[in-house]
């Protein structure tokens, strides 16, 4: 056994030899570069091939070059529902914009329904009450295993067409009416002085935040606790209510009234829109419920046991230990559910609601501008998904558990 005592001198491997030349296909760095060059070249070649085909076809058919100027042309078609005024002479661009707004408004309300219904079902799913938890489970399993489009056409074609005619409308307290022509709600009409009412709401919320902060600071400093929740709830309800009474009804209501064929006045929600919002809301709620449930059970039982063992009562355990951890699990998939709601609203066209996709489809049909229309569509949805994933990333960065 040759034993090298002490530090064996490095003479054995000394000579700093001239840098060796490695054949490029054997060099790990160059191999990566080559792979990338090949990929890029193949991609560029493919794009070039597609573009060439396109240009040749364009030339042969004499189609006009790509441009977005057609957006200024008169659309010649109208939408059954729009948030901004439209006429038959409106330019296509404006109609498309109206379609985008329709998408967003429907997605907004569907998102709200999905959130609240989903929360409710998710909590019900975890209920210790056997019946409640099984009803929630049945709901989730039915909804998730049936295509969304089928649900939408079912609500629209199956349920809404079964609604009564205007003269036999279903009414709620004689102010809300539902019939085959849509949902009729009282429309708020803002009167003089209503500004004060809104200011009161804002002040109440501001005060509530201030009290919460003050209470926490005081508790940290002196240990004294303050019934924040009760005081703040009272504040937020009572202050605006007080102002409301003082101002003598600052908000008037225009009620829907029975006309010759249908209701007049008030706020009308089209059946198409109702079906879309209700359909997407109910469907997404099933997914939200699963997210909520998974989030709550992800917090291990040991956490609440530890909290109870420290002497925290149940409501504090929930607020201080379980919820903060559960939310970390719940919020990211919730955000992607909102993206799904926006994406799913493209099914509107199947039930006659004029969302962006339906409007683009019609525009493409009328103008033959396939490429431009597809680009507008993609840009819109990619922007939305970019915004939503940015929100998600910001949240994830802030909420990520600090682990080593």
């Amino acid at each position: 056994m040759a034993l090298a005592k002490g530090a064996p001198e490095s003479g054995a491997v000394a000579n700093p030899a001239t840098p060796q030349v490695i054949a490029f296909w054997r060099d790990e760095r160059k191999r990566g570069m080559i792979a990338q060059v090949v990929v890029v070249a193949a991609l560029l070649g493919f794009i070039w091939f597609l573009l060439r085909n396109f240009l040749i076809k364009q030339e042969m058919s004499g189609a006009p070059p790509l441009s977005l100027y057609f957006l200024q042309d008169v659309a010649g078609f109208q939408l059954s529902f729009s948030l901004i005024p439209l006429t038959l002479d409106s330019p296509i661009g404006r109609v498309i914009f109206a379609g985008a707004l329709n998408t967003l408004i429907a997605a907004f309300f569907a998102g709200i329904i999905a959130t609240f219904l989903g929360l409710l079902v998710g909590i019900a799913r975890l209920s210790k009450n056997w019946l409640i938890s099984h009803i929630a489970a049945t709901y989730i399993e039915i909804i998730r295993n049936i295509p969304l489009l089928l649900q939408l056409v079912f609500w629209y074609g199956g349920v809404l067409t079964a609604l009564p005619k205007p003269k036999d409308s279903i009414s709620l307290l004689d102010v809300v009416f539902l019939n085959i022509k849509g949902l009729f709600l009282p429309k708020p009409i803002l009167q003089e002085g209503v500004g004060l009412f809104f200011i009161a709401i804002a002040v109440a919320i501001g005060l509530a935040i201030f009290i919460a902060r003050w209470a926490r600071k005081r508790q940290m400093a002196t240990g004294q606790q303050f019934p924040t929740i009760i005081v703040n709830t009272a504040l937020i309800i009572l202050l605006p209510a007080f102002v409301f009474v003082l101002l003598h009804d600052p908000i008037g209501w225009e009620f829907p009234e029975k006309g010759a064929f249908n209701f007049k006045g008030g706020l009308t929600v089209q059946p198409e829109m109702t079906a879309l919002i209700v359909g997407i809301g109910i469907s997404t709620a099933a997914y939200v419920a699963e997210i909520v449930r998974a989030g709550i059970i992800s917090v291990s039982h040991g956490q609440s046991e530890a909290s109870h063992a420290l002497g925290l009562k149940s409501s504090w355990t929930l607020r201080l230990v379980v919820l903060p951890q559960a939310l970390r699990v719940i919020i990211p998939p919730m955000i992607s559910q909102y993206l799904n709601v926006v994406k799913n609203s493209t099914l509107a066209g199947f039930i006659g609601y004029a969302d962006l996709f339906a409007v683009i489809g019609t525009s493409q049909n009328q103008t033959g501008r396939a490429v431009e229309c597809v680009v507008i569509l993609m840009v819109f949805y990619l922007t939305i998904s970019l915004i939503i994933s940015t929100i998600m990333n910001v949240y994830n960065k802030r909420a990520a558990l600090i682990e080593r």
């Binding site: 056994m1 040759a2 034993l3 090298a4 005592k5 002490g6 530090a7 064996p8 001198e9 490095s10 003479g11 054995a12 491997v13 000394a14 000579n15 700093p16 030899a17 060796q20 490695i22 054997r26 060099d27 790990e28 760095r29 160059k30 191999r31």
Partner: protein, 262 residues
């Protein structure tokens, strides 16, 4: 295998003596800003058995992981059996064939049976016929004393058995050097002995070994040389008797007192 030196003229001049198995000169490595290895010089002769110890984060694992290029060194030279480790993929592959490695967490492939774990590399890397590979595998399983476990999956074995399978798996490639990266630190105390016994037996057979371990009994029994590392540097190296009885630096003394008298 001695033809390898000729096949690789650039490395041949580095291996001055036939006795040298591994040579490191001025090896430096950084993780980002963190300097993990500082000017490491180390020569390992054929048949030598080296134990590396040191506090955690001292760079000892990184050092042996550089020897089979699981980590890339940024400065200096590493030559294994006359083959220099550079960006040359062929050389990396050759070195890995000759160097077996045993990990702290075994890294057995859970989706393969014990026998398949052992025959995988011989079949795919050395292109040995399956039948032959299986015979070799059974031979080594007998040597680590668990031939009866050949058909089981790693998840069905105890930690000590898994580590012995991992050793046998490396041996199936008939390596010239074996690297051990804390092979016993993930094991329950009663299993450590069965693994150490296999390692001692391996050392007696003349295998060149580099072991990162804190098993000082093992070091006394089999090592030719014990190396102490701290903060990315080799602080001290010596024969085990000298190293344990008469450490030279204070840092070594402190370390030894901590691990020997806890």
């Amino acid at each position: 295998m001695s033809t390898q030196a000729q096949a690789n003229p650039s490395g041949a001049d580095l291996a001055i003596s036939d006795e040298v198995m591994i040579g490191l000169t001025g090896v430096n490595k950084w993780y980002g800003q963190f300097h993990v290895l500082k000017d490491i010089d180390l020569t390992v002769l054929k048949g030598e058995r080296i134990v590396i110890c040191g506090p955690s984060g001292s760079g000892k694992s990184t050092l042996i992981r550089c020897i089979n290029r699981l980590e890339e060194h940024q400065r200096g030279r590493i030559v294994v059996d006359g083959i220099e480790l550079t960006h040359d993929l062929k050389n990396i592959e050759k070195v890995r064939r000759e160097v077996g490695m045993v990990f702290q967490h075994f890294n057995l492939f859970p989706h393969l049976t014990v026998l398949d774990n052992l025959t995988l590399a011989p079949i795919w890397v050395k292109k040995v016929p399956k039948k032959e590979a299986e015979e070799v595998a059974m031979h080594y399983l007998k040597r680590v004393k668990i031939p009866e476990q050949a058909g089981k999956f790693p998840g069905q074995l105890s930690g000590g058995q898994q580590q012995r399978v991992a050793i046998a798996r490396s041996l199936c490639m008939s390596p010239k050097v074996m690297l051990f990266d804390e092979p016993t630190s993930a094991l329950d105390p009663e299993m450590i002995k069965e693994v150490l016994d296999v390692m001692i037996e391996l050392a007696r057979s003349g295998m060149t070994m580099i072991c990162v371990t804190h098993e000082m009994g093992f070091a006394r029994t089999v090592a030719n040389r014990v190396i102490f590392m701290d903060k990315g540097e080799i602080i001290e190296q010596n024969e085990p008797e000298e190293f344990f009885n008469n450490p030279k630096s204070d840092r070594t003394k402190l370390f030894l007192s901590q691990i020997l008298h806890h």
